[in-house]
Amino acid sequence: MTMQPGHFQLYTKFSPALTAGSYKFTTNQNLAAVGKDGALGASDLPVARLDTHVTVTSPRYLLPPDQALSTYPPAGTEGAYGSRLPQVVIKRRTLPWERAVAGAPADTPWLALVVFAEGEADVLTNVDVAQCVTSGVTLPGAPDVAKGSCLSIRKSMVDTIMPTQKDVPLLVHGRQVDLDDTELMMGDDDGFLAVVIANRLPLAVKDSDGKEVPVKYNACLVNLEGQFDQLLPQAPPHRRFTDHLVLETGYYQYTQAAYDQKVMGMSTSATKVGLFAHDESIDGPAAEPADGPAADPAEGPAGPGTGPAPRAAQVATHYAATVTPETTTKAYTGSTSWVAGKASSAISKDVAISAVGDSIILALDPVLRFPVLLRWSFTSVGDATFEQLMKNVDSGLLGTRGVTPVEPVGRAALEVTETGHVGLDQRTRRGDLVRAWYRGPLLPHPADLAGPRLPLAHTGDQLRAVIPDGREDLSLAAAFEIGRLLALSQPSMVAALLEWRQRDYQVARGHAIWDGIIADLGIKGVAMNAAPSLGVMLTRAFAGAAASAPGAVIGPPRELVTPGAPMELKGEGLATVLQHFGLDVAADVDLPVLLRTLRETEVPRVPLVDLTRPAANAALTSALRESHERIVSQFVAGALSSQIMTRPGLPVGLPGTPGLPGGIIGGVPVLPHDAPQDEGADPLDRALHDRTEES
């Protein structure tokens, strides 16, 4: 079941299936069978017993940090918590019922929240868990931590402030909250929480004048296991009001000799100790407890032996029994001692001073120890509720005087005008003491928003005004000065202002230099001024101009491939070629003449008759073989060429030759057998033909 938004449900308890501890599950199985010879005996089919050991764990000495979802009052805060009960919200809903409390009815929580002011009890930290409980009490089972904290509290104080046995179940309840309400969920996972409430209001303390004094309260979540019977079985008598703790400061006074005896550890019963708490005969100023060691100058520097003198019999007894310089000093550093104000029945000094041994006190009023699972502290300053305070708040426009006018001491009475101006004393620059009007930024009437704004002033004096009654109105001048001083008080702001000023100068200088130049540049379509971004703007303007007319600004782009120089059939090059062919022909003639000459010129040959026979044979054989191979290749390639041509993507011919129809295989032109024979003319013949026609 989920909760509606804005709702939550309260539960009396969430009982776990098993409380914490060690369990043994025993499994027995009995087998029976009937055969030919009748039923088998009980021991004929034995089945071994199965023991399963289970341990249910639960925090005992320390609450895991993730289990405490919230504490109220918030830890370490100061506030008017006097009418609110401290509480702690625990994440695991069954936690307060996970341990059985001996001597208590079933489903009694084992946790209680104890709230005490400083001095009423002590919390000892870093104690072995065996020492965390009163001596004589042992908690069975393995502890969850090695060292823990414990609350060290006298039995009389247990009876005073801790809940009774019947109260404990009422102070713990469960709660189911809306899963979407993050404020109530507080990081829980399933929406079920356990809440432990304290049984005590953390009231503020009053001093002997009846004034409230902030007091630091400790809240401890304690474990009641094994010590439930130490709680009161029945509630003591009640009354319909409570009293405040009263902070009182008293003094023990020693004579010099008595103090020396104390220091030397001589018999305390022989020491002449005077208890003059709140006695008129006390001499020496009533100092704050923290000033204790130097309390009485009349006693000299050796007189630190002053101690708190409580008025209630019970507490007084404690102190009377422990008056030693060491403990008194300790009591002072603790700085507080609380006694009940209403129970201020004067006790006789004899009783207070009577030498009661520590052992007797211990027997009458033993110190009990409870393990502390969680502890936090807060300061309570009063019990006024927010509602009371806000209902009674004096509401008015600024300038309204309080309900009870204050009689001014050492100054003139308050002057407030209908405009909100206040009359103040002013010491002028010449030294005269006059009255001036001042009004802060907070007006009792609507500000004039429609009117003109205040013109800029450069000094505070420009804003001073003298109004018709002869007094000066210094409001705005004071504002100017406050603003100036606040700016001056922050070096970073002074630096920022001066940097701003410097930058303005740089801009002005830029204008002076660039304004004419920019106009001369004549960059069209771009409006520019001498801004700090001038460089960027110029770059953009140049790029824009280049883009609109690239040919004019940059020039035509370069070709991808640079052509080589054309070879000419004349001059030195031609002469070199002819020379290397072994032709003795003049090159410096017209091309047709040269060609005609070349045609007529006999190609130089090696005469065969000059050859030796083997050489002639070799030349002939070589020529014949070459001719033979060429013809064979041509025929073979021609026969295959249509298949070669059909192979996709493979250019026919040697690498590097263009993939023409046909090709050259082994240096032989290949003519496909089915290719049409191109009867076209040789380019050289065509050129010659053209030339001859022209000529």
């Binding site: 802060g440 907070l442 450069h458």
Partner: protein, 329 residues
């Protein structure tokens, strides 16, 4: 790669402008400004009276007695003068002053606008327009020191007449923005609204569910209103007044504030209307003790004369008489 020359040349400036960071871009919410961003932020805070000594806000302690709330309007002229003073630090010679005079109107306009954005939530759109009236209050009370984290809400209309919508969302159009909410001293709360609210709520901080009692008239006495455990309704007497039970405390010496829960149980069992039956259980006990956050509403009561909310000690007529009728008449 195919290169189209005109395209390349047109793309070039765009590539260039991407590659070069322009140093004048303000690293802030806005781009053009009359005043550097750091300086502007500081001046806006100054205009919201941050750092102004308390004695300059409230000139006399008698104007803000203990346990009082004082409402006010913010004086534009005063804050303008404050900014002028701060700006005057940056002026050294008369050239600077000439320059500042020329730029001052733009600076003031910009500060007006930025002031509205002072407490803007990150992510929300910026507010435009010029600054309107600013009002606020100073609360001097134990409520400020005892309840850290008070909620303050200002509304342009009174939502009381509307449905039982207890929580008005943050972005409700009727909610007025807070320009400043700050504790100037442990017990003094200073608050500025962006406008003039008609209703202001001051609410107890909501720290989960609380348990407790109401303090009585007599010091040391507490009371509570018992509730019907079935309906959670407060018990009422026949006349309609709530039933009130005094809280029993343990009478032991030193047991200050310790509640006698057994007696609470007896008290409640004695009231059949609570339906607790013969005995109380933990949930029923917790239910009786539940306390909810209180909300104080400061509204605009009708027919209140100015004299009840503002009493000047020097009347204007008297001042005129004193000033202009020399010698007295």
């Amino acid at each position: 790669m195919k290169l189209d020359v005109p395209t390349m040349v047109l793309d070039l400036p765009l590539k260039l402008s991407e590659a070069i960071a322009i140093p004048t871009t303000v690293e802030d919410d806005d781009t053009d400004s009359a005043i550097p961003a750091a300086l502007r932020a500081w001046l806006v805070r100054l205009r919201l009276l941050e750092g102004v000594p308390f004695a300059n806000l409230v000139a006399d302690s008698e104007l803000l007695p203990p346990e009082s709330i004082r409402w006010f309007y913010l004086d534009r002229r005063w804050t303008d003068a404050l900014v002028m003073g701060a700006l005057s630090v940056g002026t050294v010679n008369s050239d600077d002053r000439t320059q500042l005079t020329a730029a001052y109107d733009a600076i003031r306009t910009e500060l007006d606008q930025e002031e509205r954005n002072a407490r803007r939530h990150p992510g929300q759109p910026r507010f435009g327009g010029t600054v309107d009236a600013v009002s606020g209050f100073i609360l001097r009370s134990q409520a400020v020191s005892g309840w850290p984290g008070l909620h303050v809400r200002a509304m342009t209309i009174d939502p009381v007449d509307e449905a039982d919508n207890r929580f008005v969302p943050e972005d409700d159009p009727n909610r007025m923005r807070l320009l400043r909410l700050e504790r100037l001293a442990p017990a003094v709360l200073f608050c500025l609204f962006d406008g003039i609210p008609s209703v202001v709520h001051v609410e107890e901080p909501r720290q989960g569910v609380q348990f407790g009692f109401d303090p009585g008239q007599v010091d040391g006495s507490f009371s509570y209103i018992p509730r019907d455990v079935n309906t959670f309704a407060d018990l009422e007497k026949p006349g309609g007044a709530p039933v009130r039970l005094d809280v029993p405390f343990r009478a032991t010496d030193g047991a200050t504030g310790v509640i006698d829960i057994q007696q609470v149980q007896k008290d409640l069992v004695a009231l059949p209307a609570t339906h607790v039956g013969a005995s109380l259980d933990a949930a029923e006990y917790a239910l009786q003790l539940l306390r909810f956050p209180y909300r104080q509403v400061f509204g605009d009561p009708r027919g209140v004369s100015i004299g009840t909310v503002f009493k000047a000690s020097v009347a204007y007529a008297k001042q005129v008489n004193d000033t202009f009728k020399l010698g007295g008449v």
